[in-house]
């Protein structure tokens, strides 16, 4: 998948969340956003997901310009899978119903088809035993993996993960990261914003370092995490990796 951003900007009041981000990747693969909190990673992901409109600038996906009008955005969102930091499952629906809802309501599956697709995913994630549980009865790690399954079920053109492990303890973090690694092994394109530096380095095809609303550096993980990294990136990594 080809991704091109041109001079993307978005402010919230005085705060410039994105301050002119421009980059182009020919083949997205596993693209990982790293950088300090409040640096613009989430805003960028939310714009790509069609949940936020930029003040200016342009997004092109596979050569097609994203039009930020409600009707067009709705079409766009249907081709995108989003995983949030806070899981955002629907608490009144069971695990399997959470995955089925977009399939039946948006993607025209019959209830039987939707059940089949959902159960297949739950089996693959080893969650089949929890299919009929409500989110309140599941652990954070299980919830997040179900959220990933819900995003994948619709076979999205692009999968966006916004700090999927930031609300989880280390064991659950490992559980979710393993699931994401599984996606990588299957050759699925995704964009991940994360604070898990070790994982970013291991799983990424490309790493983007984003800080203060700007793209500081974009490159192979070896370069961004290595000796040749720019000063700003190196200072950030030295600080977070020290502990």
């Amino acid at each position: 998948m080809k991704l091109k951003l041109t001079n993307l900007a978005r402010s919230f009041g005085e705060h410039k969340a994105l301050d002119g981000v421009t980059f182009e990747v020919e083949n997205c693969g596993a693209l990982v956003f790293i950088g300090p909190s409040g640096g613009g990673k989430s805003t960028l992901l939310r714009i790509l997901a069609g949940l936020e409109k930029p003040d200016s600038g342009e997004v092109q996906i596979n050569g097609e310009r994203l039009v930020f009008e409600e009707q067009r955005l709705q079409q766009h969102r249907r081709k995108i899978g989003v995983v949030f930091q806070g899981f955002n499952l629907f608490p009144h629906l069971s695990a399997v119903e959470n995955i089925e809802l977009p399939l039946t309501a948006v993607h025209g599956h019959s209830p039987a088809q939707a059940r089949e697709v959902s159960m297949e995913l739950l089996r693959r994630f080893q969650l089949a035993a929890h299919a009929d549980k409500k989110p309140a009865a599941l652990s954070g790690g299980q919830k997040q993996r179900i959220a990933i399954a819900r995003a994948l079920a619709v076979q999205p053109q692009m999968l966006l993960l916004d700090e999927p492990t930031s609300a989880l303890d280390p064991a659950m973090t490992a559980e979710v990261l393993e699931t994401i690694e599984l996606l990588k092994d299957q050759g699925r394109d995704f964009i991940l914003a994360t604070h898990e530096m070790g994982f970013a380095r291991k799983v990424a095809d490309q790493v983007a370092f984003i800080a203060e609303g700007k793209l500081v550096e974009l490159g192979a993980p070896g370069a961004v995490f290595g000796e040749t990294a720019l000063g700003e990136t190196r200072r950030f990594l030295e600080r977070v990796l020290r502990w």
């Binding site: 709705q74 969102r77 989003v82 955002n88 009144h92």
Partner: protein, 263 residues
Amino acid sequence: MRTPPSFFFLRNPDSEPGPGVYFFNLALTTAAVSLLGVWLLRQSGLQWDWEAVAAYWRLFAAGWATTLGVSLAALAVSTVIGCGVALAQRSVFLPLRTLAEAYVELVRGTPLLAQIYILFYIVAEAVHLENRMVAGILTLSIFSGAYLAEVFRAGINSIGRSQLESAMAIGLTRAQTYRFVVLPQAVRVVLPSMTGQCVSLIKDSSLLSIIGLNELTQSARNVASYTFSNLESYVLLAMGYLLLTLPISLWTRRLEKRFRYET
């Protein structure tokens, strides 16, 4: 050390009494209240005459049925009004929003009694609506609709932003978001207050007697004036309303319990 099971005390405010202990205590308090009642009646030295009142049981039954009918109809209409107004209060079209807000504040800020007079003698007169039953149902619906609108609005507002965002992210339309995400969750929040409003509505229907609608209160008044048995009539009146409201209250308690355990 385990404390022995008690006939009178729960371990803490949230624990559940066993059915035996519960009914024992219920019977005990019922007996105590009855005794107090009997004592008060004796002290007051009143003479009861149920025979005169009993002769008019058909009037009571007819009044009770009217109250039930009016309440059910008003409940249905006010639910529709409440839903519409709750959505209108969230509208992006400002005139609709301000209209809905003005309606809610006007109705909630004035007594039902005044509303009944105004609607019956001015509005119904102006549009040539002469059917007292229909006028009564509409008045009660307009009154209750404002309260239900607030209940529904609170229900909709209780759905967090992240839920709406999630619905948006999976590509649901606005209507689908309400149908699949907002409503099923709001219903749980809203049901207890909604049934409470339903109990109020049944009791408030008694005020429709002032426009001469022959519902339960009006029937009781009529019987009282025919028989000079004021007390007997009003005791029957109270029991007639309890017969309608008590089942709803009990049902609400059960619902609240169920929802508490599910979340």
